[in-house]
């Protein structure tokens, strides 16, 4: 129970913390990609829907689209990547970097598609090359760090 309290207290602030990171002059990255990779490759499968809700809340605080759109934008890459966990389990740095680059391109595209379908356009639909590159570079080390910290540590799949 405590881990869920921590999750819903801290996880929704993740995108704001990433914004603070950028405000400090550090290279910007897409926090949604980090959540996608954590949910797809490291989180307990049974907890995934509720973890996705926390991640979607995080993105909804900084993005114009509604919460269901955020759940779809983050959830679809997770649903695609999660079956691959069988083959890419654990902290595989190169694989995580490639997957992060793919997700950093896919998330804005999904935002644009769902924004157009459901009349909820948002600024996050624009792909920024610098953000894609920095996300690819930073996602794997950030995941390595997050997996050792609460609340993510409490939801790591032990199998």
């Amino acid at each position: 129970m405590i881990r869920w309290v921590w999750w819903f207290l801290i996880a929704p602030q993740a995108h704001l913390l990433a914004g603070l990171w950028r405000d400090l002059g550090l290279p910007g990255f897409d926090m949604g990609v980090v959540w996608c990779l954590f949910l797809a490759f490291f989180a307990q499968r049974t907890a995934t829907p509720w973890l996705l809700l926390g991640a979607a809340l995080s993105r909804a605080l900084v993005d114009e689209s509604s919460l269901p759109v955020q759940a779809l934008v983050l959830g679809i890459p997770v649903a695609v990547l999660l079956p691959l966990r069988t083959f890419f389990f654990g902290q595989r740095w190169l694989w995580l970097t490639l997957a992060a680059a793919g997700c950093a391109v896919a998330l804005p595209r999904l935002s644009a598609w769902f924004g157009a379908w459901f009349a909820q356009p948002s600024a996050s639909a624009q792909t920024d090359v610098a953000t894609v590159l920095w996300t690819a570079a930073l996602a794997a080390p950030l995941l390595a760090l997050l997996r050792r910290l609460p609340p993510c540590r409490g939801f790591e799949d032990a199998t």
Binding site: F8, P12, G19, T48, A71, P121
Partner: protein, 450 residues
């Protein structure tokens, strides 16, 4: 094998299905979303509370903004009925109305086909049923309880069936083929799949109609004594579009259908005119007043280069409520539970906007636009606009205001100075500062509107 058996994430797929349901039927899920986001914003509110309260807004910029809004309303009144037929002006007075909602599905050309005005059917009881704007005929007000307004009562805000509404009345019109020749036609609503909102149903000279080889011919309503035509003569309906085969070296042009594109884009309409019997007293309250606003404090969220703020207020905000700082539009808010809201600055928003451009040229008419922000840097915002060809050329330097963007974002809120983008005439560049730090703001209530 254990991993294979759990590879199918049923819970995750269920969550995605639920999200799709929430997008398809948003009403039951909206309170849940407000509560969840309100809860997630509690940490931000706590931190914002530590920052303190900003000083009250300066009154000088607010007064300057009010002057601009007054200038807009004066110009709208002056041009609202300009160009209307003299016979109508001699017997009726124009009564400006504000559009509250643009909607309606299944309109000709696939475009919106209904408006809701800020006046009730009862208030318009002594008015002609036609709705116009300048010299343009737009549509008619149906009888409450009648076709097109079956569920409406006399006290409801009046609905306007635009000329492309499936139940709109056809009008007699003239196609101005050239300076001397006129093709008499009956213009009615096209179907949703047609290439234009209106279609010519009948013509008095099929031979001449079949040989029309030029598009963009003006179409004006025509008086026919004893006719049930909806509109008096002299109003502009739009311009023609020809559907058929063009002239070739071996054959003449062959017209299969003639369509009419109205000059006004339905999504851009924010102010229209109804015609009241001369001497009749206007009933009902004066609608064109400053919107009712409530105070709040906006705190820029980290990474607010995207123009996102947490708005803290004493009451719950409606979704889409306009937020003003010193009389200037800052953005629109999404209401959360517990008197909080997430504010998206104008430059950060990507939603479609109904806008009004007030040209600096005092003789020029206000231009109604429909557009969306495509890009913003600092205080400059690029808005890609959509307007009919006849108004596209009139975009010049001026002041930009909101048009009708829902009950909580009324028309006439000042956004900033605007000018055509020299690199792309479909775009305008607007001076609109992004919210920064903590600032005192006011947000608009959706009071007394449908």
């Amino acid at each position: 094998m254990a991993k294979h058996s759990t590879a199918f994430p049923v819970g995750l797929y269920g969550a995605l299905l639920l999200a799709l349901c929430a997008l398809t039927i948003p009403a039951p899920f909206a309170p849940v979303e407000r509560a969840l986001l309100g809860g997630a914003a509690l940490v931000g509110r706590f931190v914002a509370g530590l920052v303190g309260t900003p000083v009250a807004a300066n009154t000088t910029p607010a007064a300057a903004a009010a002057q601009r809004v007054a200038a807009l309303h004066a110009r709208l009144d002056r041009h609202g009925a300009a160009g209307a037929p003299a016979g109508l002006v001699a017997r009726f007075d124009p009564a400006p109305c504000t559009v509250v909602v643009v909607g309606g599905r299944g309109g000709g050309g696939g475009e919106p086909c209904e408006l809701r005005l800020d006046r009730t059917y009862a208030e318009l009881a002594d008015c002609l049923p036609i709705v116009t704007q300048g010299d343009r005929y737009l549509g008619h007000v149906p009888q409450p309880g009648g076709p097109g307004a079956q569920d409406d009562a006399l006290g409801d805000f009046a609905r306007v069936l635009l000329a492309n509404h499936p139940l709109a009345r056809s009008v007699h019109a003239d196609v101005e083929v050239d300076a001397a020749a006129r093709l008499r036609v009956v213009v009615g609503p096209a179907s949703a799949a047609d290439p234009a909102p209106l279609r010519v149903d009948l013509w008095d000279d099929p031979y001449q109609a079949a040989r029309l080889d030029r598009a963009f011919l003006p179409v004006r309503t025509r008086d026919v004594p004893g006719s049930a035509s909806a509109a008096p003569g002299g109003f502009r309906v739009g311009t023609t579009r020809i559907w058929g085969y063009p002239r070739t070296e071996r054959s003449e042009a062959l017209t299969l259908g003639v369509y009419v594109t109205p000059d006004a884009l339905p999504q851009a309409l924010s102010h229209v005119v109804v015609w009241r019997q001369r001497g009749a007293e206007a009933s009902g309250p004066e609608r064109r007043r400053a919107p009712t606003t409530r105070p709040g404090i906006a705190h820029a969220l980290p990474g607010a280069a995207h123009g996102r703020c947490l708005l803290v207020a004493d009451e719950n905000l409606a979704d889409g409520a306009a937020v003003l700082q010193d009389g200037r539009l800052l953005g629109v808010a999404k209401g959360l539970a517990g008197g909080a809201a997430l504010l998206t600055g104008f430059g950060a928003s990507r939603q479609p906007w109904n806008l009004i451009l007030l040209p600096d040229d005092p003789a020029a008419a206000p231009v109604e636009l429909h557009g969306a922000v495509v890009h913003s840097t600092g205080e400059r915002v690029w808005v890609r606009c959509r307007a009919r060809a006849t108004t596209q050329a009139t975009i010049g330097p001026g002041q930009l205001f909101t048009g009708s963007n829902g009950p909580a974002c009324p028309p006439g809120l000042w956004i900033g100075a605007a000018a055509a983008d020299p690199g792309d005439f479909d775009q305008i560049v607007v001076e609109s500062p992004a919210p920064a730090g903590a600032c005192a703001v006011h947000w608009c209530e959706a009071e007394g509107l449908p």
